[in-house]
C-alpha cells in the first residue's frame, strides 16, 4: 500500500530520530543525575536557606551575685519594640505613628533617627524597651510592616557606678548576630571574663517560611531549648561596696579595696570616677560614653589593680618589719630627726620641716618620720627591703583569672635598675625607697594585701569569687613580736598626735590602726624648696600628691584590712577618713 520508495525513506530517515531521541533523553538523564546526585548537597543547603528562618532564643544571662546572694547585675525580661527600616516603604509615616503611639520624647526620636542613619537598612533600630502593656498591644494590633515586637532580656546593674569597672557591663558585640540583633556579650570586667559561664546557651526556633517570607509553621524537630547562664557569686558585700564608693566619691578620683583578713575575701573594691552602665542604653547613652572617654580621670580604669602608685609612707611598714627581722634596729632605738638628713652630697628632707626630734620605731610610724626610715633603709639595704615587700605581697598579681589588666607594679633592686634605667644602684635609691618613693610602684590591692598580711602574720591571698571554703593561709614566718612592734606603731597613727588622728574610730572599743602615705607625683626641685614648697591649693589638680591610707580593724584582733588611695588629694587625710568610714560600716 505504501509506495516502496516512501517506505524506504521512512526507515532510513527514522534512524536519525531514534539516535537524536536517545541522545536528548540521555542529556536529560545526565542532567538529573548531576543535579540530584552530584550537586545534591549544594541544592539542599540552598533549599534550607530558603525555607527555614532560624530564630535565636536568647538565654537569660546569669547574674553576678554579692556575697549574700543578692544580685549585683541581673537580666530582666523586657518587651522590645524595634524597627527594620528596609521593611517599610514610608519610614517617615512609620516613625510618626510610633512617636504618637508611644509618646516618644524628642530626645528619643533624635536618637532613633541617628541610629537609622548610622546603620545598614536591614539592621534593627531599637525604639524602646520600657513601655506599658497597653501601648504595646495597641501598636501590635496595627500590624505595621517594619515594626517588630519581641521579648528578650535587658541587663540591670543594681549597684550602678559602685564597682562598675569590676563587675563590667554587657553590650552588643561588634559583629552582631544577624539572627539575634539584641544579643549581648560581656564587654568588660567580670561580665567579660566569665562570659561563657554567664551567657548560657542560646536556643533556636526554626520557623518554616514560604516564598514570600510568611511564616507557615514551625519545625519542631529542630527546636532547641535555651539554657540559662549560671550565676557568678562574688565576695562583695553590697553595703560595704556602696559605702566605699560613696566615700571615694567625695574625692574626684581614687580607689579602694576592703579585705576580710581571715578569708582573703574582697568585701569591696571600687574605683572613681566611675560610670553607670544603666545609662548606656538611655537616649543620651552615646553622649554619656563619649564624655566618659574624654575624662582625664579615666572612669573606665579599674584603678585598684590597673593603677600604679608610689606607696609613699605606707611602705614604711615594709621597711620597719625588714629592719626588725634583720636585727638592724630594736623597737626602742631612737634616731634624731632635725627635719633633714645630709648623706653624701645630698640633703634628704623630712615632711616635717622642723623635725620630729628623737623618735623610736613606734614614734616614727606614728608621725611618719622620713629621717628615721631613710637611715634604717640605708642600714638594711634594698635587698632586705625587697624580700620583705615581696613577702608582704607587693609586686604580685592576684586577679589574673578574674579581672583583666592587673599591673604588678615595680619593686626595684640593683639588677632591675641596671636593666631598666641603665645606671648603677646608688645609696640615694635605697634611702628614698625607705619612704616608698623612687622607683617603687604598687597598686591598691597589693597595699591592702600587705596590710592584711601584717595584721595577721599570715600569707593572705585575696579572692573575688565566693567560696564557702575557708582558706588556710600559711604563716608568713615573721617573728610575732616584730609584727606586734609594728602594729603598736600603727595603732598610734590614729591616736592623738598621729598622722591619722582625726580619723580615729571607736566602736564598742574596736579601733582602727593603719598607716598614712602621700606619694609625690612630681619631684620638688632644690630651688623650689628654697622658695617654699607650693601648697596643695596652689598646685594644679593633676600635679597634687596622692593621698594613701592602709588600715585594719579591730586593733585587738584584726579582721578587716583596707587600702584607700585618693588621687591628687594633696594629703592622706581624705583617704584615712574614707577608710575609717568603711571600717565603721563593717564594725557596727
Amino acid at each position: 500500500m505504501i509506495d516502496t520508495e516512501v517506505a524506504r525513506t521512512f526507515d532510513r530517515r527514522s534512524a536519525l530520530f531514534l539516535t537524536g531521541g536517545a541522545i536528548l533523553t540521555s542529556v536529560l538523564v545526565l542532567r538529573m543525575l548531576q543535579m540530584q546526585v552530584f550537586e545534591y548537597k549544594e541544592y539542599t543547603r540552598k533549599s534550607e536557606n530558603n525555607s527555614f528562618r532560624i530564630q535565636i532564643t536568647m538565654p537569660k544571662r546569669g547574674s553576678i551575685l554579692s556575697e549574700s546572694g543578692s544580685p549585683i547585675s541581673r537580666d530582666t525580661s523586657v518587651y522590645r519594640i524595634y524597627i527594620i527600616p528596609e521593611e517599610t516603604t514610608d519610614l517617615q509615616s512609620l516613625m510618626n505613628t510610633i512617636i504618637k503611639d508611644l509618646k516618644l520624647r524628642q530626645k528619643t526620636v533624635d536618637r532613633i533617627w541617628r541610629n537609622i542613619k548610622k546603620q545598614q537598612p536591614f539592621q534593627p533600630v531599637l525604639i524602646s524597651e520600657s513601655f506599658s502593656w497597653d501601648t504595646l498591644a495597641k501598636l501590635a494590633a496595627k500590624n505595621i510592616p517594619g515594626i517588630h515586637i519581641s521579648t528578650g532580656f535587658s541587663r540591670i546593674y543594681e549597684l550602678g557606678p559602685a564597682g562598675a569597672q569590676i563587675f563590667g557591663y554587657v553590650g552588643i558585640p561588634k559583629k552582631a548576630l544577624p539572627n539575634a540583633p539584641f544579643f549581648t556579650t560581656g564587654i568588660t570586667g567580670l561580665e567579660k571574663r566569665f562570659n561563657s559561664n554567664l551567657s548560657g546557651k542560646s536556643g533556636q526556633t526554626v520557623l518554616v517560611t514560604n516564598a514570600v517570607g510568611r511564616i507557615t509553621g514551625e519545625d519542631k524537630t529542630q527546636f532547641i531549648q535555651p539554657q540559662y547562664g549560671s550565676d557568678i557569686k562574688t565576695t562583695i558585700k553590697e553595703n560595704v561596696q556602696k559605702v566605699l564608693y560613696d566615700a571615694l566619691a567625695l574625692n574626684r578620683a581614687g580607689c579602694g579595696v576592703v579585705l576580710d583578713i581571715e578569708t582573703g575575701d574582697i568585701l569591696a573594691m571600687a574605683s572613681t570616677p566611675s560610670f553607670d552602665p544603666n545609662n548606656f542604653k538611655t537616649d543620651d547613652g552615646e553622649e554619656y560614653v563619649s564624655s566618659l572617654l574624654n575624662d582625664i580621670a579615666k572612669p573606665f580604669m579599674n584603678k585598684t589593680i590597673e593603677g600604679l602608685y608610689p606607696p609613699g609612707s605606707t611602705f614604711k611598714i615594709v621597711v620597719a618589719l625588714a629592719a626588725l627581722e634583720s636585727g638592724a634596729i630594736t623597737p626602742n632605738e631612737k634616731i634624731f630627726c632635725p627635719g633633714y638628713w645630709e648623706y653624701g652630697n645630698h640633703k634628704y628632707h623630712c615632711w616635717e620641716k622642723d623635725g620630729h626630734g628623737w623618735v623610736d620605731l613606734a614614734g616614727a610610724l606614728k608621725h611618719s618620720c622620713d629621717i628615721y626610715f631613710y637611715q634604717v633603709a640605708l642600714r638594711i639595704g634594698i635587698d632586705a627591703i625587697k624580700s620583705m615587700a615581696l613577702k608582704l605581697g607587693l609586686n604580685q598579681k592576684y586577679m589574673d583569672d578574674v579581672l583583666i589588666n592587673e599591673m604588678p607594679g615595680i619593686m626595684p633592686d640593683r639588677r632591675w635598675k641596671e636593666k631598666n634605667i641603665g645606671s648603677y644602684w646608688v645609696h640615694g635609691d635605697t634611702i628614698i625607697s625607705g619612704i616608698g618613693q623612687g622607683f617603687i610602684l604598687t597598686n591598691c590591692l597589693q597595699l591592702a594585701v600587705m596590710m592584711a598580711r601584717v595584721a595577721s602574720n599570715k600569707n593572705v591571698v585575696p579572692r573575688l569569687i565566693y567560696s564557702n571554703k575557708k582558706p588556710n593561709f600559711k604563716k608568713l614566718g615573721i617573728q610575732q613580736k616584730n609584727i606586734q612592734y609594728v602594729l603598736n606603731g600603727l595603732e598610734q597613727v590614729t591616736q592623738k598626735g598621729g598622722t591619722a588622728a582625726s580619723s580615729a574610730i571607736n566602736i564598742n572599743g574596736k579601733k582602727m590602726g593603719g598607716k598614712t602615705g602621700t606619694s609625690q607625683v612630681r619631684n620638688i626641685s632644690k630651688t623650689e624648696r628654697q622658695r617654699g614648697v607650693l601648697t596643695t591649693e596652689q598646685l594644679k589638680w593633676n600635679l597634687r600628691n596622692h593621698g594613701l591610707f592602709v588600715g585594719y580593724a579591730p586593733t585587738n584582733s584584726p579582721k578587716y584590712a583596707v587600702c584607700v588611695i585618693m588621687e591628687h588629694a594633696g594629703g592622706s587625710s581624705p583617704a584615712a577618713h574614707a577608710s575609717a568610714t568603711i571600717l565603721k560600716e563593717l564594725l557596727k
Binding site: 500500500m1 505504501i2 509506495d3 516502496t4 520508495e5 516512501v6 525513506t9 521512512f10 526507515d11 530517515r13 527514522s14 536519525l16 530520530f17 531514534l18 531521541g21 536528548l24 533523553t25 542529556v27 536529560l28 538523564v29 542532567r31 538529573m32 543525575l33 543535579m35 540530584q36 546526585v37 550537586e39 545534591y40 549544594e42 541544592y43 539542599t44 540552598k46 533549599s47 534550607e48 530558603n50 525555607s51 518554616v208 517560611t209 514560604n210 516564598a211 514570600v212 507557615t216
Partner: protein, 381 residues
C-alpha cells in the same frame, strides 16, 4: 508489500475487531502517567483533592470519553475532516491573539463560558493531522519536489506567526520542530533544511530586536546567565533547580517537598510539575517518569513503522514528535537546560486544554493502530 493479514473494509469493522486491535502498550503507560499526575497534584494542593487533583480528575474523565470516541471512530472520518479540524484550531489561534486573555505573559486562552481553552495546545495536534492528511497520498516523486511543500509551510507559518505574537515561544518552537520533523521523515531534500537553517540565522537578529517581547529577551538572557538576577527573571528557574536538586536520589517524601509545599516553586502544578515530582520522589521518581515517556515514544514509533497505510503512519509519527518535543522542552526548561518558554508537561501538568489535545492525539494514534491494515484513499473511501 506483503499482505498476509486479512484486510477488511474500515466501514465493516466490528467493535470487537476494533477492540482486539486496540494498543494496550500505548494505553496503559498513558493511564499510569495520568494517575501519577493526580498523585502529584494532590500533593501540590497541600495534601488535598482541591484545588487541583479533583478538577484534573474530572477533566481526565471528560477527555477519556473523547479519547475512546476518537480511537474507535472510523478513520475515514478523520481523513475527510483533517483540514477542518486544523482550520477550527487556526481560527481559535487567530481569535485568541486579538481577544484572548493573557496569563503570566505566556499562553493565551479563550473563555467560552466556564471553559478556558488554550488554542495553542490544539493547533499542535491538528497540525499533525493536517500534515499527515497532506503528505499521505504524495508519492516519492512528488515528495522530492519543493512546490509540494508550499502548502505545508503555510500550514506552519500562519499559526506560527500568530502564536509568536501571543507571545508563546514554546508552542511556536514546538510547531516548527514538528513540521521540520514531518518534512524530514516524508523525504524532503536535505539541502532545504540547510538553507532554512541559514535563513533562520539571518533572521534571528531581526526577530530578537523586532518581534520579541522584553520578557522573552529577559528569559533568554537569564537562561544564559541565571545568577545575574536570582530574584527577578531568574527567580523561577533558580527555585525550580533548588527544588529539583534538593530532592536527591530518593526525594524528600510525598507531600514533604519543602520548596514546593512552601510555595517557593511557582507554577508547581503546571509547567513546573516535573520539579515537584523530582523534589518529592527524587531521581528515582523523575527517572521513572522519563522512562515511561520514552516507552510511549518507542511504542508510537513502532506503531508508525508497522502502519500499512501512510496516513496512520504519519499520524503516529507526527504525534510521537509532538509528544517527545512536548516533554523534552518542558523537562529541559525546568532543569535549566533551556529558557523558560511555557510548555506544560504532557499528561502531568494541571490544565484541560493540554490534556484534551493530548488525549485527542492518543485517540488518533489508537485509531491509526486499529486501522493500521486498512487501505485508505484520500477521498476517505
Amino acid at each position: 508489500m506483503v499482505s498476509t493479514t486479512r484486510v477488511s473494509n474500515a466501514n465493516m469493522m466490528s467493535f470487537n475487531e476494533k477492540l482486539s486491535r486496540f494498543s494496550w502498550p500505548l494505553f496503559i503507560p498513558m493511564c499510569i502517567i495520568l494517575i501519577l499526575s493526580l498523585v502529584v497534584l494532590f500533593s501540590a494542593g497541600g495534601g488535598s483533592w482541591f484545588p487541583f487533583a479533583m478538577s484534573q480528575l474530572l477533566k481526565i474523565i471528560v477527555c477519556m470519553f473523547i479519547f475512546f470516541a476518537v480511537a474507535f471512530s472510523n478513520i475515514k472520518f478523520w481523513i475527510k475532516s483533517a483540514y477542518v479540524w486544523y482550520i477550527i484550531a487556526l481560527i481559535m489561534v487567530i481569535l485568541v491573539t486579538f481577544i484572548g486573555n493573557v496569563g503570566m505573559g505566556a499562553q493565551r486562552w479563550l473563555s467560552i463560558g466556564f471553559l478556558n481553552i488554550q488554542p495553542s495546545e490544539f493547533i499542535k495536534i491538528t497540525l499533525v493531522l493536517a500534515l499527515a492528511r497532506y503528505f499521505a497520498w504524495k508519492n516519492s516523486v512528488e515528495l522530492s519536489q519543493f512546490k509540494n511543500y508550499f502548502v505545508p509551510i503555510l500550514m506552519l507559518m500562519i499559526p506560527f506567526v500568530f502564536i509568536f505574537l501571543q507571545p508563546d515561544l514554546g508552542t511556536g518552537i514546538s510547531l516548527a520542530l514538528i513540521t521540520i520533523g514531518m518534512f524530514y521523515i516524508v523525504g524532503a531534500n536535505k539541502k532545504w533544511f540547510l538553507i532554512a537553517f541559514i535563513l533562520a540565522l539571518l533572521a534571528a537578529p531581526a526577530v530578537w530586536y523586532g518581534a520579541m517581547h522584553n520578557y522573552q529577551r529577559d528569559r533568554i538572557i537569564t537562561f544564559l546567565n541565571p545568577e545575574l538576577d536570582s530574584r527577578g527573571a531568574g527567580y523561577q528557574i533558580n527555585q525550580a533547580k533548588i527544588a529539583f536538586g534538593s530532592g536527591g536520589v530518593l526525594g524528600k517524601g510525598y507531600m514533604s517537598g519543602t520548596q514546593s509545599q512552601q510555595s517557593f516553586l511557582p507554577e508547581k502544578q503546571t509547567d513546573f510539575i516535573f520539579t515537584m515530582l523530582g523534589e518529592e520522589f527524587g531521581f528515582l521518581g523523575a527517572f521513572m517518569l522519563l522512562m515511561i515517556y520514552t516507552f510511549i515514544v518507542i511504542i508510537l514509533f513502532w506503531a508508525a513503522k508497522k502502519c500499512r497505510n501512510r496516513f496512520g503512519q504519519l499520524i503516529c509519527f507526527g504525534f510521537m514528535l509532538n509528544f517527545f518535543i512536548y516533554y523534552f522542552i518542558n523537562i529541559s526548561m525546568v532543569l535549566g537546560l533551556l529558557p523558560t518558554v511555557g510548555v506544560p508537561l504532557p499528561l502531568m501538568s494541571f490544565g484541560g486544554s493540554s490534556l484534551m489535545s493530548l488525549l485527542f492525539g492518543f485517540g488518533l494514534c489508537q485509531n491509526a493502530q486499529i486501522h493500521k491494515d486498512q487501505q485508505l484513499s484520500s477521498k476517505g473511501f
